[in-house]
Symmetry: C2
Subunit: 556 residues, 2 copies
């Protein structure tokens, strides 16, 4: 069987200037990075902003399992499918993080005949956005320690600095470090650590910023820690936000690439989907909307986490209003949600699919609570049985929605044409009445309870000591209008990753809350969240290299 | 007066594809990065390698002073001057380091009417080469700690790991750190630190590699530390070199930009000039030689450090043979070498110039010991008096060489036309009989003594305890053929930075020696060498930002 990377390397890419033309962009609207990547200039982004916006389609999925759902693949396939049926559609997805590729084999951007290229570049340095974020983040960190070294005018409490450093690398040894050792010339010793770059608040800010001015203001609002009177100290207090903006000015420009079928894709930004909102950048989504009939985008993890954050954080803060939602499921993932072990997935088992549909149904109900029309995309695998497909089809019919079998993995856009037609029918039917789950004005704790109750179906939420007081303090400081970003396991509606299906009545413990004043949301941490991964016993890096043709091996 | 950045912004840049055409390179030979930067592809580099090579001119300078010598400015001016008189000349200089720009105001690439553009990009992320080096370096570091975490098959002695981490940032708090705190899941606790990226051996390797294969082999030879039996452990032992090569494959391609006069410039690589060899990449120099009549390049610091390393490390290892040397001096710098304080430089003082000529004369003698023809370029400043210029002119005449007044700062290439003509006369006169200072076969300690005796004019060299034994051990291990890179102050021929002029009879203490097995040289450290700078009390970063036109302010 031909692999994803082999298909990607056989792609007949068009010069990126031709892809830009499809969006109505001329040679000087884009900054080429090689012959197959480009950034859309700030001037062009600003100019097209006044154009009428196309329709925004979110692709989300059932609760993830090791079987795989193919959310990105379906996003790409749907984009190609929409173009195939005559709509000008653009795909908006996140950039890949460099570090994890050296642990496990890297992720493609899609799969099979539904991919975005150039795959290698996108899994390596791409256009340097993440490096720029790393630089901006670490400049602020250096300025904090430098400020204390030179007299600490702001009276920063070194014990209460919350701003860590970042690196785009899986490096567990940097999770917890002591810095400033070695004597007076190296500053004050203190304990801190490194996160992986995608966990940086700067990443979340880049993805939510409307333009360069907004970026700078958000960077200035970052709270780096507290002074000896426990008052927050910001990046603006350190005069760091201007230089951080300069470091990020190119990175803020959306990246343009193409699908295997030469349709435009904006691949831009990549915030963590647990401690951040897990969506591509607002700048990219807006630019795509202004230059296309349809924009197909996705959000991290399953619909309980990804779609909720997409709606309640990204759409709320950016004023976006989706027209329809595609909920991706596979027979294999439904079986796993129905209790089948991965080794047994090949066996025909409509009963397991029926049990797994509990998870699907829960996500359908949740998505509908945002007042949006939903279609289930059944991402087809070769081993799927008709008996199993019928179970899902019937289940969806009972919920009053369609299930469409999508074969983009094998057939590209043509295989997703039926799905595209159903999406157009929903989006142009005018049924969408998008509203976020809770109003800005609700108290922060109530926002947490609303998400846990209505989306996760928890019986109640428990706060660790200090959490409620902290939320009230932030409300008093003027942050009460912010949405809440819940960091929890993606494998279950509960906080127990082994509870598949559609659990309810569980308890969600909020261990800690964090203020992302620059990004503009509060993070509620429910369970163990890893912000710096480690490498496995035999890291992929050991196999990665260049082959005799100078092509990358071992990365995929 | 118009500033460098204002001149740079008024530049009438030509599309980078037109500059590439000047080198005989077509559209597919270059990878554009925006409209004014490009990388020359590996394929094109390999293809042109067979073409006959042009002449290589080194621009070096007298001992640096706070008055400034304008070495890069003269390099650029001479390149433009050569083009002005009908030679196809290409300029090869180093890339700027990002981190230091946030401490002190950033460096231009040249000055006045002799600059390389785009200046801002070149002082920010440019084409991402340094970020790639940071990633490759830190991947190896992560793989070291990961190897120990998973059982330490190689029995690495955690006390004897010499491979540190790097960041392209001035961050003194990272000089000396303890990592792996926080318990079992974060690995073994040990003490280490961060250097600035330009100090990475990966940077030196990138600059000395002949091609991708050579790069990978050099990376594999990096010694990361020692095992419990004190045997060296290499990057190849960890299977890290393949993945590091993949991270560096784009960075190894030379960067093409242009001068204000639209002449080609390759700006590629930037190793430290103290603990490394301080020259641009071999790949860039070779590619420029294969596509030009003349290549003008420079080396870090004064001729005692920069030129010596250029000859004995870069030219030796890459088989390059320079045709002539330009020694840059200014009246102001000669006065400072003659004992005048910076505040008094405006006063006419031919006596001080005469005293300062001792420094000039020493450099002339040293350069001639490499059997190369030399011309002194007197980089003209407005306040220079005829009486002072005559002193230098007469001094040079006594040494049998010409002094040419160069006015490229004010007049661009036209102002350096006389200098260009003299350079052509020397280079085409066939006087060059380049030979390095010492043979490969000399013992390592003898190499150190030769440099210190013949170039620095030291009375003797003293070795700290263990240094001689270490050198002998490396000779026994097969590293005895390597050249030596001396790390010492650039302000004096001695190791005392306050001894201007032409001191002799001093003692050079070798504090420590280091093996750069991948780069292929031994470093002898003589004095305090800082491999991670700090930020000043009021870092430039506080003033850096975007102005109302979206242009960078405060960086220059």
């Amino acid at each position: 069987m031909i692999t994803d990377i082999e298909i990607a390397r056989q792609a007949k890419k068009r010069p990126i200037s031709e892809i830009a033309e499809r969006l109505g962009l001329g040679a000087h609207d884009v900054l080429p990075y090689g012959h197959d990547k480009a950034k859309i200039s700030h001037d062009a982004v600003a100019r097209v902003a006044a154009q009428p916006a196309g329709r925004l389609i979110l692709v989300t999925a059932i609760s993830p399992t090791p079987a795989g759902e193919g959310k990105t693949t379906t996003t790409v396939g749907l984009g190609d499918g929409l173009n195939r049926i005559g709509k000008r559609a653009t795909i908006c997805i996140r950039e890949a993080s460099l570090g994890p590729n050296f642990g496990m084999k890297g992720g493609a951007a899609g799969g099979g005949r539904a991919q975005i290229v150039p795959m290698e570049d996108m899994n390596l340095h791409f256009t340097g956005d993440f490096h720029a974020i790393t630089s901006a983040h670490n400049l602020l960190a250096a300025m904090i320690d430098n400020h204390m070294y030179w007299g600490n005018r702001l009276r920063i409490d070194s014990r209460r600095i919350t701003w860590r450093r970042v690196m785009d690398m899986n490096d567990r040894a940097l999770r917890d470090v002591a810095i400033g050792l070695g004597g007076v010339a190296n500053g004050f010793t203190r304990q801190t650590g490194f996160d992986i770059t995608v966990a940086s608040e700067v990443m979340a800010i880049l993805c939510l910023a409307q333009d360069l001015d907004d970026l700078e203001q958000r960077l200035g609002r970052i709270v780096i820690g507290y002074d000896l009177d426990r008052r927050p100290v910001t990046a603006a207090d350190l005069d760091a936000h201007g230089a951080m903006t300069v470091l990020l000015k190119d990175a803020l420009q959306p990246n343009l690439v193409q699908t295997l079928e030469n349709n435009p894709a904006l691949v831009h930004g990549g915030p963590f989907a647990n401690i951040a909102h897990g969506c591509n950048s607002v700048m990219a989504t807006r630019t795509a909307l202004a230059t296309s009939d349809y924009v197909v985008t996705e959000a991290g993890f399953g619909a309980d986490l990804g779609a909720e954050k997409f709606f309640d954080i990204k759409c709320r803060l950016a004023g976006l209003s989706p027209a329809a939602v595609v909920l991706v499921a596979t027979i294999r993932a439904l079986k796993m949600n129905g209790g089948v072990a991965k080794a047994d997935l090949a066996q025909e088992d409509p009963g397991a699919v029926t049990r797994g549909c509990a998870n699907l149904g829960r996500h359908i109900e949740n998505l509908r609570s945002f007042n949006l029309p939903v279609v289930v995309a059944l991402n087809h695998f070769d081993g799927d049985r008709d008996s199993e497909l019928s179970v899902v089809s019937d289940f969806c019919a009972k919920h009053g929605i369609k299930m469409v079998v999508a074969r983009h993995w094998a057939q590209g856009g043509e295989g997703a044409a039926d799905l595209a037609r159903e999406v157009v029918s929903l989006a142009e039917g005018g049924a969408a009445r998008f509203a976020p789950l809770y109003p800005d004005s609700a108290p922060l704790w109530e926002k947490i309870e609303t998400i846990c109750g209505r989306i996760y179906r928890a019986a109640r939420v428990e706060a660790a000591p200090g959490v409620l007081a902290q939320l009230q303090a932030w409300e008093a400081a003027g942050h009460g209008h912010m949405p809440v970003c819940i960091a929890k396991t993606q494998y279950s509606f509960s906080t127990d990753p082994t509870r598949f299906g559609a659990p309810d009545g569980h308890i969600v413990p909020v261990r800690e809350v964090r203020l992302n004043a620059g990004a503009g949301f509060i993070v509620a941490i429910c369970g163990e969240i890893m912000t710096m991964p480690g490498l496995p016993r035999s890291p992929a890096a050991e196999q990665i290299g260049l082959d005799h043709h100078g092509q990358v091996k071992g990365l995929f």
